[in-house]
Amino acid sequence: MNFEDQLQNALNIDNAAIDETQFISRLHATQHKLKLQQARFQSSMATAVLLLIFGWASFAQLNDSIFDIGYEQYYSYDDDYDYISEIDSSDYDVYVADMALYLLDEDDVWDVLEFFEEEEYEYAFNTKEIKL
């Protein structure tokens, strides 16, 4: 007997038989489990996707309502708005004039001039005079 025949002889089986019905019922149970696992996985994935969509939508919604909606009617957030140039210079003139008069009442004209120096105030009346 050559080597290959010896191997095949060693692997020879005569009395191997399987219970077909039991095998099929076992397989059906496994298939059922497999389908359940698949369904569970699909529903988990669907839930995760829905949660993601709702989460994102809620976040976007909250973002809008907190910072933007209804707030603009009270406050303006125009970044290009030039606040400095909008200060009314006439108020400042009145303030300087009041202070100057107050200091003059105190009979010290040098204090008035010192005050003008500190404020770096343009002597409007002088300018006007020069212009005239």
């Binding site: 010896q6 191997l7 095949q8 002889n9 060693a10 191997a16 099929i24 496994t30």
Partner: protein, 175 residues
Amino acid sequence: MKTDHELIRLFQKGDQSAFDELLKRHLDSVYRFFVRITIDEMDAEDLAQTVFIKCFKGLKRFRFEAEFTTYLYRAKVNTANSYLTRNKWRNFLHLDQAPEQSYSNEDTPISKSEIWVHVARLPGKQRNVVMLRLNQQLPFKDIGLILNMTEGSAKVNYHHGINKLREWLKDIYEL
């Protein structure tokens, strides 16, 4: 009597009984394939079940380009390879101390488990060809078709594989 392809078409349309019919038709050959490889019948049954679960999952995408038996052989070879690799590690770690199978031929001097332990040591292509040839006595032409190789390549791989097996088993059995 419906052909394998007709049964697969029915299964793809959702007919579960068509799959059962297919299973009944091929169960014996699948089971006997694994009985020749495994130590005990329970393992063979588990492996047969693994093959049919693979079919259950895979047949929904079956493209009818090959015979179902070719597809089944590939599934059997892949499953057997996984089993042999797993067993190789078990043997290496001395975890598997199961007794020899009850349905082996008692007269032969070579033990079945010893053969598969050494077949598992062969390189991939040689292992697959030797497995199909020893287990099923398939012609090299069919083996080539199943394993996507030419008949000549199957013969060469078998020749190399058998020579290595002879070398390894010679020391044990004084062949």
